[in-house]
Symmetry: none
Subunit: 190 residues, 4 copies
């Protein structure tokens, strides 16, 4: 719990921060992290100074983007897990994670690093996501829907992998489905 929240943040400041985060997410994922900060600021309709006021470093901005995304995914996964029975929940979440992170070059890499780790700030959100994934996996295994010898590390690796695989199949949904099919089949017992 974070009672010592950073401070309420004025309405306009909050708006700018959000804009920045949205724009950065979009820009980083479509064009990579090499995009100049200035361009991100411009796209968000603010000056560079504002960007740097909210995120003291370009890296901090990237981190914030990744954290937010992890949190969103984790939340949705939790919801899915609550509403659905284990087997179905597992596979639905698999797709969810892949779809939310695929097509996002650097983000995929960041997710990948959740297997090893990263910057302290990411720690928490990636840990949470890991925890959620572990639960889903365990549930699906108990329900007999996933081979029991599959562990968390390879699950994460497969998420990353399918994300990468999928990324270049954007134009071919049928092929994408076949990738899922191969992997899901491979994950099921026998």
């Amino acid at each position: 719990m974070n009672d010592a929240s950073p401070r309420p943040l004025r309405a306009d400041a909050a708006r700018n921060r959000a804009r920045l985060l949205d724009v950065a997410t979009e820009v980083f994922t479509t064009r990579g992290v090499g995009v100049p900060t200035e361009e991100i600021a411009r796209a968000a309709g603010v000056g560079v100074g504002t960007l740097f006021r909210h995120f003291p470093t370009k890296e901090a901005l990237l981190e914030a983007v990744v954290v937010r995304r992890l949190e969103t995914i984790t939340a949705r996964a939790a919801q899915l897990a609550a509403e659905t029975e284990p087997a179905e929940a597992f596979f639905a979440c698999f797709r969810l994670v892949v779809e939310q992170s695929a097509g996002k070059q650097e983000f995929t890499r960041a997710l990948a690093e959740a297997g090893v780790d990263v910057h302290a700030s990411l720690r928490e959100s990636s840990d949470q996501m890991r925890g959620r994934l572990a639960e889903l996996l365990a549930g699906a295994q108990q329900a007999g829907a996933v081979r029991p010898e599959v562990g968390l590390p390879e699950l994460i690796a497969l998420l990353v992998g399918v994300g990468a695989a999928t990324e270049h199949l954007a134009a071919d949904p049928a092929a994408r489905e076949r990738v899922y099919d191969v992997v899901f089949t491979g994950l099921r017992p026998h």
Copy 2:
């Protein structure tokens, strides 16, 4: 008209070119494409000028690295295909491709783009590789070792994906094997 052939290249020049390519391969794959050209030149024991004489652009150097790698892989794949029966050859080549490209950040991405394509110069070598992969796939499918509905695009996607998955499992060979197992199982009929 000059000689059509790209010039015989003096012995030392050829040596430099080869050194450069080796060093660049090593450096790009271990530290990413962000490494300054100057550093690559130094590591190869030549001046930057020499590097740029051989490769007019940093990108050209990267391309040459990728092309050479593709050619090597393709050649080994061809060898494997010739020496082994279709089913075995297919899975052996799958591993070969993954292992040769995995752990190579940017290279993986380059290979990935072979699914859609890239710079004209890569065309040929990636086409060759694609041809080889298509043959292997067809062979394995005729032998009943791979599900018939799997197509080339998703095969390539899976290669890229397993490469990505594998990249962060360097320290855990058992998990890596399980990833292969999942995907290979998923590729086989039933």
Copy 3:
């Protein structure tokens, strides 16, 4: 026409102004004039906006700091001059000036410029200080305690110089005393 007087200034505003001045004095003298205004504001417990309301420019703030210091020193010098006999007063004031300005990097420079001069606003206070120093010098010379050919410009120069000399002798009081001794001996007749 507005009131000629600079406005009575609300109680809290006056308090802020004073705080700002104190903090700025401390910060400028210990860490140099390079310190960001924002930091000074924070240290004074106000927002930057408030700082700039009181001092329209960073330079204006620095100036106010210097002026206040000059005035303080001048006042103490006047007091000393009134209470003590000329010879003693002169040397005591010399020390006073040096000690109040020494160790204060930028301030020393500002004081130094009093020899040539500066911003209009400093004019008055530096003139006053100059007047006071001139009187002290004259008194000491009439009392036969200081060589008659020493003029105001070199007195100021020596004050600045001893300040500079002293600044790096903070840890060695004995050496500092010897510096004073050298200069005071040199100032006395024969």
Copy 4:
């Protein structure tokens, strides 16, 4: 002895390096260290890149400037010491040091820090200068020309101090002479 000299340096490179050093000396001493590197480069007739090739950091450039100056002064002081009898040599060197460093804002500060110290690279040259000054002082004291209780720290402090004093007396040579007179008188026995 520096047998492992950094490398011969091509003629043009050496020329540029020297130009840069000269220009930087001039610019830093007349306008302070705040001057943009770009301006220094332009004044030296080279691009910024060249400046940074020779001096990897602005600070490194400043350091090089200071070192060169210290070395020059030390060399001249050594020469003076060799050619003149102790008493005279001491006072001549005092003036030399002051005149070479005075009027040079930041340089003075650097010299001053020789009392405490600085960046490793400066170490050597400032140590050499300190050694030279110590010899001169000892010689003059043995010759009975300087009070025996004066130590090296306060000598350095006085050099810095007279430099600072002198700096603002550029237009008044007579006053400057009187400053020297005061300090030299104070340094002599009785």
